[in-house]
Structure formats: structure tokens, C-alpha cells
């Protein structure tokens, strides 16, 4: 599934994590490039927390970020897709891959609610889906939180 790139700011992408994709989160559609099939994860030594390795996509090397550990408390044991997202480093945009459990959905015309005070900073808001409260993620804050999250799999410094 390739996401259209001309969605408005009121569009969101619903992603699934956890066993059977039961835990759902949303990202602004503007942050999402596409949904890609599972590619070969390639690893090399590094010390950055919550980066699993890289995948090669269209001759680009994309870092693979484990956000499931931050959002659900455990890494995905199995993933079917990578959600390719746009990260911003100052004026530079770079693509990054997030393993997700299942297919993603486009949400149109939904209005997020503010997050509660006790919610983590990487929740930008909450989207109500037929009574289910789905956290809307702030990708940059989530990436910062994942980098700060201890990761036993990394190479010891």
C-alpha cells in the first residue's frame, strides 16, 4: 500500500503494534511516506538505543526504529510491514522505518482531543474511534523517547 502524499493535516494513519496488532496508535499522515513490505533487516555495531538496524529501500538506507518497546513495553516479535516515516533534522528530512504488526488505515476527517496531563509527551493527542481512545503520536518526541530508552541489545559502550 502506498500512501498518497497530498493528504491534508486532518488525515491520520492508524498503525498496529503488539500481539495480533491489537494496540493501535495514530500518526499525522504528513509524517508518513508509505507502508512497505518486510525487507531484510541488516545489522551492524552501534550504540544508539532502539535502533534495530537498517533496511535498503530504493537505494536508500533507512534506520529501523523499535517504537513498540516504548509504546507497548516490548519489541515486536513478528512484523509484517515497515511504516516508512519522515523524520525532520532541522531543515533536512530523512526517511525512517518503523516495524508494525499489520496493515495500516487512513483516518480522514477526525479531530484529535488534547492528551491528558498524565500521558507521555510523545502523545500529541487522543483520537476517539468508536469509543476506543487511540493515542496520536508526536513522531519527533517519540524518537527522542526511544533514543533515551535503555536498550540491552546495543553494543556496550
Amino acid at each position: 500500500m502506498t500512501m498518497a502524499s497530498d493528504w491534508t493535516e486532518s488525515n491520520y494513519v492508524l498503525l498496529r503494534l503488539g500481539p495480533a496488532g491489537r494496540e493501535r496508535f495514530a500518526l499525522p499522515a504528513d509524517d508518513v511516506e508509505e507502508l512497505a513490505g518486510a525487507s531484510r533487516l541488516q545489522k551492524f555495531p552501534h550504540t544508539t538505543n532502539r535502533i534495530d538496524g537498517v533496511i535498503v529501500r530504493r537505494k536508500r538506507v533507512l534506520a529501523v526504529r523499535d517504537v513498540a518497546s516504548v509504546l507497548t513495553g516490548r519489541p515486536l516479535s513478528f512484523h509484517r510491514f515497515y511504516l516508512i516515516v519522515r523524520r525532520r533534522y532541522g531543515a533536512v528530512t530523512e526517511l525512517e522505518a518503523i516495524p508494525v504488526s499489520g496493515d495500516c488505515e487512513l483516518l480522514s476527517g477526525v479531530i484529535p482531543m488534547p492528551r491528558g496531563e498524565s500521558e507521555p509527551e510523545y502523545f500529541a493527542g487522543i483520537i476517539d474511534l468508536a469509543g476506543e481512545q487511540v493515542p496520536l503520536l508526536d513522531l519527533e518526541k517519540l524518537a527522542a523517547a526511544s533514543s533515551a530508552s535503555p536498550d540491552s541489545a546495543r553494543r556496550p559502550a
Binding site: R40, Q42, F44, P45, H46, T47, T48, I51, V54, V56, K59, R60, V61, L62, A63, R65, R87, Y89, V92, E94, L95, E96, A143, S147, R154, R155, P156, A157
Partner: protein
């Protein structure tokens, strides 16, 4: 040295930036080597000499020091002490059987590796994605993209820092033990 070109490097001219940005434009010969099943590469021009570990037995001195367990030996070259870095220990890789030492040019470092996989030529290397923000930014010049995957390219100047060298020099001054 078994330096055959078993795999061809992809031409990468025009790769987009930033993660795909070419960090070098001319064709550069690279050496791809293996340590404990993990592949690394290094610009061939950075390597002065490739020696077998056996051939260094009479020249290397053991360095007993607790600070950097990946440095256990030194060699003398042109009146300068070079520190032999076990790449496997440095990167916390599974135990392996190193058989070669890559003596590097212009740095006081030599690399203990298992074997040379091949030599190749790259028109460019890919920048490390910015998501990587740890020591790997010092260790690697970038990523070499081959048909069957990416291989990190070691930065010859990024393995031992000035601080490492100062502390190792102090240990050497305290006395190395000949092997």
C-alpha cells in the same frame, strides 16, 4: 590475501541526500573483511600492509592494561608504536579466530580481523542515517551498498581517539611485556 571481486558494488551516483547522499564521488577501492561473521569495509588506501598474525609473532609486544580490552598488543613501525585493535572485541562480537592484521596508514592503529572477504570499488558510500547518534558516527565513514546488502565502512581515525592513545601511551611508558 584472497581479494577477489565476488560481488559487484552498485553504482550509486545521484543517490538522494541525506541518508543516501554520496559521501565520495570517485571510484575508491575498498577492502571488505570479516570478523565473527560480520562484514566491515575500509578504504584500501588506508591500509599500509596486511600481515598474518603468525608473521607478527616476533614483532608484537603484549600490552597488559585494563582500560581498553580490545587492545592487547602493540607493534613498532618506523619508530612509532601502533596499537593492535581486536575488531571483534571492540564491537563486542562473538569470539572468533583472527588470522590477519591490517596495518593502517597515517594512524597509530592496526586491526585484528578474521579474513579478507574481497576487494571492491565503490563510486560512493552512503551516509549513516541521522537516526544513528552514538559512537558509530565516529567509528564509520558511512555504509557501502553492495548487491546483497550494506557493509559499514570503518573510519581509520575513529577507532582510537586521542584520549585512547594518550592513555595507551601512558601504559606503554609504564612498560609493555614482550611476547
Amino acid at each position: 590475501m584472497n581479494g577477489g571481486t565476488s560481488r559487484r558494488a552498485r553504482p550509486l551516483r545521484g543517490s538522494p541526500s541525506p541518508a543516501g547522499a554520496p559521501a565520495a564521488q570517485r571510484q575508491e577501492p575498498v577492502i571488505v573483511f570479516d570478523v565473527a561473521g560480520a562484514e566491515f569495509s575500509i578504504p584500501a588506501g588506508a591500509v599500509h600492509d596486511i600481515r598474518s598474525t603468525d608473521s607478527l609473532a616476533g614483532e608484537a609486544a603484549m600490552l597488559e592494561q585494563p582500560d581498553f580490552p580490545w587492545v592487547r598488543h602493540t607493534i613498532e613501525r618506523s619508530g612509532t608504536t601502533q596499537y593492535v585493535v581486536s575488531v571483534g572485541t571492540f564491537f563486542n562480537l562473538p569470539r572468533s579466530r583472527p588470522s590477519l592484521v591490517l596495518v593502517l596508514r597515517n594512524v597509530r592503529c592496526a586491526l585484528l580481523v578474521d579474513r579478507i572477504e574481497r576487494m571492491d570499488a565503490l563510486s560512493s558510500i552512503l551516509a549513516l542515517p541521522r537516526a544513528f547518534c552514538g559512537e558509530e558516527r565516529r567509528w564509520f565513514l558511512g555504509l557501502a551498498l553492495f548487491d546483497d546488502g550494506v557493509v559499514p565502512m570503518l573510519n581509520p581515525q575513529g577507532i582510537l581517539t586521542t584520549e585512547h592513545l594518550e592513555r595507551l601511551d601512558a601504559r606503554v611508558a609504564a612498560g609493555a611485556v614482550p611476547v
